[in-house]
């Protein structure tokens, strides 16, 4: 499928880049990173124009992010209205919101480019947890500028097997995500172990 999508980029140009960008940012599994890198290479070869390609990719990604946020916002309100009736669930929701409030800005920024595979989910979670729209949007735009700049540049500069490079970069992102999750969960485990030890000592 990747090849047939890439084949459409030189033929249909920027409108297609826009559609891929929006859909990928919403969470439809499309090879957006590879597409941006291929666009960078097409720009370098003179098949596409740099400024319009950059602007198109950026506007597409930001549009997709906003759609994800709105989906989260509307779905979140409904879920919260139902779950929030139970005090225990309401406490958990409040806890999750506090977490997003604390790390949300940087989280949105990093999930645009460094941890890109979980970007679409992050949009929905941010919307669902009522993260302030202006905060989400500002960090989102800065993150997407970073993402488009990095991957367009890689495609522009790199000579060789882009598909192999794109899959390696994707793998690196997942390795980072798994690593961060392991550290986070590991810390929780240590905390639980300490509490257990403490409880035993008290007994």
């Amino acid at each position: 499928m990747t090849d047939s999508i890439l084949a459409l980029v030189p033929t249909y140009g920027l409108p297609l880049l826009f559609i891929i960008g929006v859909l990928a940012a919403i969470g439809i599994p499309l090879p957006s990173t590879l597409t941006i890198m291929a666009v960078g290479a097409f720009v370098a070869g003179g098949d596409l124009n740099l400024v319009s390609a950059f602007a198109t990719a950026l506007i597409a990604a930001v549009t997709g992010d906003q759609i994800g946020y709105q989906i989260g916002l509307h779905a979140g309100n409904q879920v919260e209205a139902r779950l929030g009736r139970k005090p225990s669930s309401a406490a958990k929701i409040a806890q999750a919101k506090k977490f997003i409030d604390k790390f949300g800005g940087v989280g949105v920024f990093l999930t645009r480019w460094l941890l890109a595979p979980i970007g679409p989910t992050t949009n929905i979670v941010c919307g669902a947890s009522d993260m302030r729209w202006i905060r989400f949007s500002l960090w989102g735009v800065i993150g997407e500028i970073t993402w488009v700049s990095i991957y367009l540049s890689i495609g522009y500069i790199f000579h060789g097997d882009l598909e192999a490079l794109a899959s390696m970069l994707g793998e690196a992102s997942w390795a980072l995500i798994a690593g961060i999750a392991a550290i986070f969960l590991g810390k929780r485990m240590v905390k639980v172990l300490r509490t257990l030890k403490h409880e035993k000592a008290v007994e």
Partner: protein
Amino acid sequence: MKTLWKNHKLLVIGFAGAAIIAILLTAHLAMATFYWPKHQDAELDGWMTIRYVARSYEVKPEALLIAIGMADHPPRRLTLQKISEMMHIPPEDLDTLLMDAIAQERAAE
């Protein structure tokens, strides 16, 4: 440890899963990076344009355009697939034409 497993199964499974995935992916990446230089040339593919191929193989696009007889009217944004349709030749023959031209260019340099 036993109590941890008994009361927090999800936490332990989550941690182990994340750690294993992180380690496996990092190992795979390290291997891929190690073997990278040998596979640097991308195989020709239908989605590529002539200019893309020229850049990828670091040869002048003109040389490839001459090889396929399109030097006078260089095709802009035409993929190899479209070019092979236009030239009424199978994609494999177009690839051979281009690879020969690339080899010649590289030998000349």
